[in-house]
């Protein structure tokens, strides 16, 4: 998942340097004739001094400026990501109002569908899957804990049946899926419990066992809904909780009806 400070730094860096590179490129390409007579002599001296080094630096500045403009447009400002995070927090508050237990037991996670993943562990552990097979990647999560995740769920357009997890199922079927009453795997779960959990959560037993070995939590209830941007399927949003049964799913869907359009607008270009 995206690290906020790293994103803010990279975005800020490219925001500043794209203009710096553009101005430098303009200076390098400027000729003496375009320098207004009203300019102070020092400015003229600087421009002419910079012109001495034109050539490859000019080309490099133009290319860097173009790349920096593209990257900063792609990254989106940190305030957009903050608004998306606030939206996920609001959904979490709304869904689980009045539910007892720590807030981090109830999560709202946003997954984006991507053609490629560079996470070697994701595809090397699964048969007949490649980095370009199609994956659901978590890009945002409610709350302030468990913000980093290396989870990559297969979601291949060529083989939708192989889509894994509730997120994969939602993505493949383009439906809202609600699963309640999954077995409690904390403590010493039996083999039967793991089998049952894996089957009902559309995951493989190996993956569930790996999660348990790492001490990762296994939610007991899920609700997944598709996310569309510009009327195209963009990804999915998954609500998971440690409680056995989620609050009224019609309320969850109603709340998402209020936020869905807003979220879709914010996610444009991401």
């Amino acid at each position: 998942m995206r690290r906020a400070w790293l994103h803010a730094f990279i975005y800020g860096w490219f925001e500043v340097t794209k203009w710096a590179a553009a101005v430098l490129a303009a200076l390098l390409s400027a000729s003496r004739s375009v320098i207004p007579a009203s300019w102070p002599s020092l400015a003229e001296t600087i421009v002419l001094w910079v012109r001495e080094f034109a050539g490859w630096p000019l080309f490099a500045c133009v290319v860097y400026s173009a790349v920096a403009f593209g990257v900063s447009a792609r990254l989106k400002p940190p305030r957009t990501w903050k608004a998306i995070h606030d939206c996920l927090d609001d959904l979490q508050d709304y869904f689980f109002k009045g539910v007892e237990g720590p807030v981090h037991n109830h999560r709202v996670t946003l997954f984006k569908w991507k053609r490629w993943t560079w996470n070697v562990f994701a595809w090397s552990a699964r048969k007949k899957l490649w980095p370009w097979s199609g994956w659901l990647v978590p890009v945002g999560r409610s709350g302030h804990t468990m913000q980093h995740s290396w989870t990559r769920l297969p979601a291949s357009p060529k083989n939708p049946d192989s889509a894994e997890g509730i997120a994969g199922r939602v993505w493949a079927s383009n439906e809202t899926v609600v699963v309640n009453g999954l077995p409690d795997l904390h403590g010493n779960p039996t083999k039967q419990d793991i089998e049952k959990y894996a089957a009902a959560s559309f995951a493989s037993e190996e993956w569930i066992e790996q999660r348990l070995e790492k001490g990762s939590r296994c939610a007991r209830s899920f609700c997944g809904m598709p996310v569309e941007v510009n009327n195209n399927l963009w990804g999915v949003i998954v609500i998971d909780s440690q409680i056995e049964e989620l609050p009224d799913s019609s309320e969850l869907r109603r709340a998402y009806g209020l936020y869905g359009r807003l979220l879709g607008n914010m996610l444009q270009g991401i």
Binding site: N174, E175, T176, V178, V179, A199, S250, R253, G260, G264
Partner: protein, 163 residues
């Protein structure tokens, strides 16, 4: 006669009925995508021309629609990107419920990504229920009785439309 225009808000809770599946004894509840359930329908009726234009509004926002299916009694517009049913124009003089059903049921056979079957199922029910409740006897007095028995089945499905 003047054109009649009205907006009707639709209740997604009533339109979107779940389907259940059991895996390893655990209940999996499935609903349509929230983007496939219309939030409102806009109705334009031209009584003098016995024509009806119905437009659906979704949470995904407005989208350019193209007339994809043309029949002698109806025309269906699908969203350019989403392929959702956005608009339907119906000639009330020639309208037959069974042909309308066939027309909408044939839509999923077109290749789509992602599948929009739920959208077609829901909008079909909304359209047929609305048409059932609509009085268009002036357009075709002889056909009204013939269709009554078939459409009566739909009354139980969407009682909210007759309110």
């Amino acid at each position: 006669m003047a054109e009649v225009t009205e907006w009707r808000l639709l209740d997604p809770k009533e339109l979107d009925t779940p389907s259940w599946d059991y895996i390893a004894g655990i209940e999996i509840e499935s609903y349509a995508s929230p983007y496939d359930v219309p939030r409102a329908m806009h109705i334009q009726r031209y009584p003098d021309r016995c024509h009806l234009l119905v437009e659906f509004k979704y949470i995904g926002g407005k989208e350019e629609a193209r007339p994809e299916i043309k029949d002698e009694h109806a025309k269906l517009w699908l969203g350019r990107d989403s392929q959702r049913l956005c608009k339907a124009e119906i000639d009330l003089e020639r309208y037959k419920p069974e042909e309308m059903i066939k027309l909408i049921d044939n839509l999923p056979s077109k290749s789509q990504r992602p599948p929009r079957n739920d959208n077609y199922r829901i909008t079909k029910n909304v359209l047929l229920s609305y048409l059932h409740a609509l009085n268009y006897s002036e357009c075709r007095p002889e056909a009204e009785g013939r269709e009554r028995s078939w459409l009566a089945k739909l009354r139980t499905r969407a009682p909210w439309l007759s309110k």
